[in-house]
Symmetry: C2
Subunit: 430 residues, 2 copies
């Protein structure tokens, strides 16, 4: 057995304490698998005195996390501070520059600065590993960078944020509105006090940008991701979706097309029988389509101390085994620029819901707008309401370019029989 | 970029030709990912003149596959001949002994001789890789050996044979009996002319033995696997199962218990809403439970040229990258013997179906048998039939030890109101 791999951990919150626990509970088996002991030698955290259920005796303590990067007893820095900039970025940059490997759970950091960090890692040369950054308990980065490496990947899509999936699942099961379910999720600890990173789709977008880069061998490009959250999804739409044979999920979708790469995060209507629609509650699910494997599906817990710590330690085991995988699957010079298809160029079926005053001629006006933009109607549903109240008119339309949809909905919204902003949800048929 | 990795392929059937096609179609991207070219330099097959759609010009041709093991232009032998003994075994043994890496899709070989082959691989030291042997398109060996390596694995279960899953899915959808659906599957090429390896559970057992070894770090032990196939599953049981809220799947199940390891292959009743019940048709699915990840699920195509070739080439890429993973995740000396729990010691709920003559007192007799063996009844279903015809009586029983079930069913079978051998299907609640 070789000499121990010496680890410095920055951030001893839930995940950091989880990493200590994994290495403590399963240390002997991990050493057998890694071929050497994986030993925490240094830590940094805000609060030295807090009880974490694990002894920190004999470990080098750093008040300033960045100084872990120059600790001579550290071979690998584990960054669990979070945030795309500030201390996390300083620490990771310095560690790589000092030829220390880095393991991180920080999706914002990799989505925003992954390319320059990968360059630094390659130059020194050390590993920059981030399995924990995407879909915690699911080894999806390893699947894409290694397990499916024989394939040309055509697309990746998935449920990458447990908070949103919990909220949508709970809305579907209970019929309650978004705000109420969010408040409950916050009480249960499934959603943050400031929920916007989750419910506005930003967290999903960070993860999608990373997945797309690894899947397609492109330069990670967060700004190329179209992002729309779930705040506007209402129980009535979930209900109509079900009647039409669909569930509503917040998906990250990355697809390779002839003209370029589509990267988008938004609520999707997916067929009720599709595998991704069966992924419920706080679970994450990722579907990968490749030219030789066809379709593969991965499900598991996306967050929480255990799954995230498991991913961090798997990266440490790889480093201990001296596995040499370029950060994004191929060398930085082999990554191609992302040729982005803008959202206005997206083509697909759509669901729309209009709230109309039920008067003669209403439907002819709406149909006229569809015709003006060459939009072809699929199914229509109309529910009756109390007389005088606005009536929801729901329809699906066949494959349409998004730019035509936007123009058409503007025209529909301007009709004086339309009393609310139309709702549009993209349909995925996979 | 390093010097090319030189590959010799033994067996140019569907999968062998698939490997040639993957390396041809995606060669440039694969070289980027592997850090060097992966180049086929030698082949062996039964028929030299057959058109495989890929040119064999310039490759060393071996009439005798075993001589690939001493070809000086070969770094890795890919064994695609099949069979647990004979040429396949001779070739793999010789190749490893000659310090050539081996990649194989041969589950029978690894299930029966994996331990001694791993010893030879370790001694020389070269890689023995077999991702393609289990659940083709799903990188489950990589997930267990690497992605989830931080965990103590508590259990693995899965649908590992596409033929059986196709037959059971088709029986459930159409209500037709086993023989009819099997004949159809044979016509469609989903089942072999001699289907016994598939439908009698042997293929699943080979794969389960491998998964169990990698999951638990135990010496692979095919003989420790209890095996029961699907020939006795009838449409009436599928129908009753559905009424009780279950689907019927052929599963391989490996569980770690305090007293040892359970390894068993048999039809299972699984809850209709469970992820494994959603895996239908020729798809495979594997569920892994670990102490820190909780539950993760993997689905994909288990067989076919594309998925299997993808797995073979992924192994080649790992070898090209000089990834060093022991055959079963830890060194041969660290593998523990399998402490097997015999099937008679299995404890779980059961489904039983009895065909009875409907006379007064019948039910009291049956209930008496349950009582004699301390078996506690769950739910009961009785369907009426034409007068004079035997009536099916279906029941589930709570957690019972299998040895008690067997004795009780013998007693029930001996009742003169019982007209057929009782049917027993194990229930899994996961």
């Amino acid at each position: 057995m070789g000499s121990p791999l010496r680890v410095g951990i920055a951030g001893l919150g839930t995940v950091g304490a989880g990493v200590l626990r994994v290495l403590h509970d399963n240390g002997a088996a991990i050493a057998m698998r890694a071929g050497r002991e994986i030993k925490v030698t240094a830590v940094s955290s805000r609060d030295r005195s807090k009880d974490r259920g694990v002894s920190l005796d004999g470990l080098n303590w750093h008040d300033n996390a960045v100084s872990l990067a120059s600790d001579e007893d550290v071979d690998v820095v584990v960054e669990l501070i979070g945030g795309s900039d500030g201390i996390a970025k300083d620490l990771v940059e310095s560690a790589l520059a000092n030829a220390k490997h880095v393991v991180t759970a920080n999706k914002a950091l990799i989505a925003h600065h992954g390319l320059e960090l990968a360059e630094t890692a390659e130059r020194n040369p050390v590993a920059l590993a981030y399995e924990a950054a995407v879909a915690g308990g699911i080894p999806i980065i390893k699947a894409l960078r290694e397990g499916l490496a024989a394939n040309t990947i055509d697309g990746v899509h998935g449920i990458l944020n447990g908070t949103c999936n919990y909220i949508l699942t709970s809305m579907a099961e209970s019929g309650r509105p978004f705000d109420e379910v969010l408040a409950e999720a916050q009480e249960l600890g499934y959603a943050e006090t400031d929920p916007s990173f989750d419910v506005d789709g930003i967290d999903t977008a960070h993860k999608l940008a990373i997945l797309a880069s690894v899947a397609f061998g492109t330069k990670v490009d967060f700004d190329a991701v179209f992002v729309e959250g779930i705040r506007h999804v209402s129980p009535v739409d979930i209900d109509f979706a079900e009647k039409l044979g669909y569930g509503i999920k917040l998906l990250g979708v990355a697809k390779r097309r002839e003209e370029g790469i589509e990267q988008r995060v938004h609520p999707c209507m997916v067929p009720i029988a599709s595998p991704i629609n069966h992924v419920s509650g706080v679970f994450n699910g990722v579907v990968v389509d490749g030219d030789f494997i066809d379709t593969t599906i991965y499900e598991g817990r996306g967050a929480g101390a255990g799954p995230t710590a498991s991913a961090v330690v798997a990266d440490l085991i790889d480093i201990a085994r001296e596995s040499q995988i370029p950060t994004f699957g191929v060398g930085v010079n082999d990554l191609s620029p992302t040729q982005t298809i803008p959202m206005s160029g997206h083509v697909g079926p759509y669901y729309i819901r209009l709230m109309v005053v039920d008067k003669p001629g209403v439907f002819a006006d709406i149909a006229g707008c569809l015709k003006n933009h060459n939009v072809s109607m699929g199914s229509v549903l109309q529910q009756s309401r109390d007389p005088g109240e606005p009536v929801p008119v729901v329809m699906t339309v066949h494959e349409t370019e998004e730019r035509a949809m936007v123009l058409m909905l503007k025209e529909i919204e301007a009709l004086d029989t339309i009393v609310e902003k139309p709702v549009m949800i993209r349909v995925e048929t996979f």
